[in-house]
């Protein structure tokens, strides 16, 4: 570890959103030196989990790196996006769909660091098998 830390804050400390609502927050990076961070990517995205191969899609993507000039990537950065109507978060039996804000920090020597803040989009309850007796 090079002492780099990431703080990912969602406004209102919310974990649930309805489709079309605005998700906003701030990303703060704490690193001893400016050169400790090569680039940073912030994504608001969903990915699947379960039996099938993983699918993922990015709804909001922002990258800051050397292509943005000599900006100090440690400066706090706000983000905001209107969430889409679909797909909603889903806890199925063999298909699960998770939404999250993901920050990927690219460090020197090919290393990277991931921080995720999960949230729920919509209010679909977990799926149950039809044969499963209700508890």
């Amino acid at each position: 570890m090079n002492g780099c830390q990431v703080q990912l804050l969602i406004d209102g400390d919310r974990q649930s959103f309805a489709p079309g609502e605005t998700l906003a927050g701030e990303c703060r990076l704490d690193a001893p030196r400016r050169d400790d961070i090569e680039a940073i990517e912030l994504s608001i995205m969903w990915y699947t989990e379960g039996t099938g191969d993983e699918d993922l899609a990015v709804h909001y993507f922002e990258r800051r790196g050397p292509e943005n000039g000599r900006t100090d990537l440690r400066e706090p950065r706000r983000f905001s996006t209107e969430l889409p109507n679909s797909p909603l978060s889903y806890d199925g039996v063999i298909v699960k769909l998770h939404w999250c804000v993901r920050v990927r920090v690219f460090l020197p020597r090919g290393k990277d660091m991931l921080v995720e803040a999960p949230f729920q989009l919509g209010n679909v309850p977990p799926a149950k098998l039809p044969e499963e007796p209700s508890a």
Partner: protein, 443 residues
């Protein structure tokens, strides 16, 4: 958590996912070898085939020569004998006399051979010894001259091979280079932008619907047929005609082969020279053929007398909590033990297992919306019924991504005495209800 390039990433269930960067490196290495190989092949072909012929056609100077003699040259290869016409000529340039065996420029590289001796004899018959003929000589090497200037179209066409190698591997290399070290999120973002650009470029009418409800299949194909009683007639999504035809053809072929084996076996026994190995193959083959006939008759019989199933719906797409009316019309000539219409939701997950792609399906919701016990369907009185059903209020909407899917469908299912059950599926699109979250509803 920080990490370096690894050969393996985390285990997912019983499978281990590979390292993206290691995979990309291997793929780039493969593409680079194809790219370099393509260029080497291209250079070789241009130098040996294209350039000499182009020079002979463009730069060689016309002259006159005397034919001394002719012959058909031979070369023995693995594929048999190959031939070429050879003409011995004499010509004078700048006071110097040249006597050479020639025909076209390919001969100076040791080539020009092909099959067909008669063709070559016909070619040399045109050159009479002692007569003068036009020829073309190389101004840089006066000892090189030809009496025939050809256009090797085949050589030009063969350039397509290295050109395709270079194009495909070069494009792949560029794409891999562009994505090298790019995160999965960045690649997904770029892919999304590219997909949008393509859709907009094509004026795709589904763009609006798909951008409003991403990753929900559009209902365009499900609402383009108006109904007689209700708004839309739903198309059947699982047609069995193709599967039945394949089954019948397979059964016939299998049993024809089995019959052939049986005839050979019987003949050997009739000649008192029994072929026991043949018998060991033919008898199990015939038994399997018998079982196949029985299975095919049962499968096909399951659909005998069954007419078209028409299902109409009052609205589409559907929404959780919404109530809809369906109208069922089942024609045919059959008696059934039961016929029902079921609303079902399936999860489908596709994954790679080795080189195979496998799909798991799990039903997560099923409810019967209409049921007939012991219906009797006759040609003059098709079975018709109209019923309302409600999509569960908190149901997951339809969803489709590369490897994962949630799909809703109405299934018309029947069982009859003496016939296997049959099913006809009608896909539905369920969109999310856009009600605001109520306090405490979400986890």
């Amino acid at each position: 958590m920080s990490r370096r390039v690894r050969f393996f990433l985390k285990k997912r269930g019983s499978r281990r996912t590979g390292s993206q960067q290691t995979g990309s490196f291997g793929w780039m290495l493969f593409l680079a070898s194809l790219f370099v190989g393509g260029w080497l092949l291209l250079i070789f072909m241009v130098r040996t085939e294209i350039v000499p012929e182009w020079r002979a056609n463009r730069h060689f100077r016309p002259h006159t020569c005397t034919v001394l003699t002719t012959r058909v040259g031979e070369k023995t290869t693995d594929e048999g004998k190959l031939y070429r016409p050879e003409v011995k000529i004499q010509y004078e340039l700048d006071g110097q006399e040249h006597t050479i065996w020639t025909y076209n420029i390919a001969q100076f590289k040791g080539g020009g051979y092909s099959s067909g001796q008669e063709d070559k004899e016909a070619v040399i018959a045109r050159f009479t010894a002692g007569q003068e003929f036009p020829c073309w000589y190389d101004p840089d090497r006066p000892s090189v001259a030809v009496v025939y200037r050809s256009r090797a179209w085949l050589a030009w066409a063969m350039l397509l091979l290295p050109a395709s190698f270079i194009t495909i591997s070069g494009s792949g290399l560029g794409y891999a280079w562009f994505n090298w070290g790019a995160s999965a999120e960045r690649r997904a973002s770029l892919a999304r932008q590219a997909q949008r650009a393509v859709q907009l470029d094509r004026f795709d009418p589904t763009v609006m619907a798909s951008s409003e409800y991403p990753f929900i299949p559009t209902e365009a194909d499900l609402t383009n047929s108006p109904g007689v009683h209700l708004a839309y007639r739903l198309p059947v999504s699982n047609t069995v005609a193709g599967a039945m035809a394949s089954l019948i053809v397979g059964t016939v072929l299998w049993n024809l082969v089995g019959l052939f084996f049986l005839i050979l076996m019987v003949q050997s026994f009739v000649r008192y020279q029994p072929e026991w190995l043949l018998a060991a193959i033919a008898i199990p083959f015939a038994v399997a053929g018998g079982y196949l006939i029985r299975y095919t008759v049962r499968r096909v019989g399951g659909y005998a007398g069954l007419g078209p199933t028409l299902l109409e719906i009052s609205g589409h797409p559907l929404h959780p909590g919404g109530t809809y009316t369906i109208n069922l019309s089942q024609s045919g000539w059959l008696d059934l033990r039961m016929l029902e219409v079921v609303l079902a939701c399936d999860e489908r997950a596709t994954f790679q297992q080795g080189t195979n792609s496998r799909t798991n399906t799990r039903r997560v919701y099923e409810t019967t919306v209409l049921r007939f016990d012991k219906p009797s369907i006759r040609p003059e009185t098709s079975l018709e019924a109209e019923v309302k059903f409600t999509v569960p209020a908190h149901a997951m909407h339809s969803f489709r991504s590369g490897h994962n899917e949630v799909c809703w469908r109405l299934i018309v299912r029947g069982e009859g005495p003496g016939r296997p059950p049959f099913e006809r599926d009608f896909l539905l699109v369920v969109r999310p209800s856009l009600q605001p979250l109520q306090q405490g509803q979400a986890a």
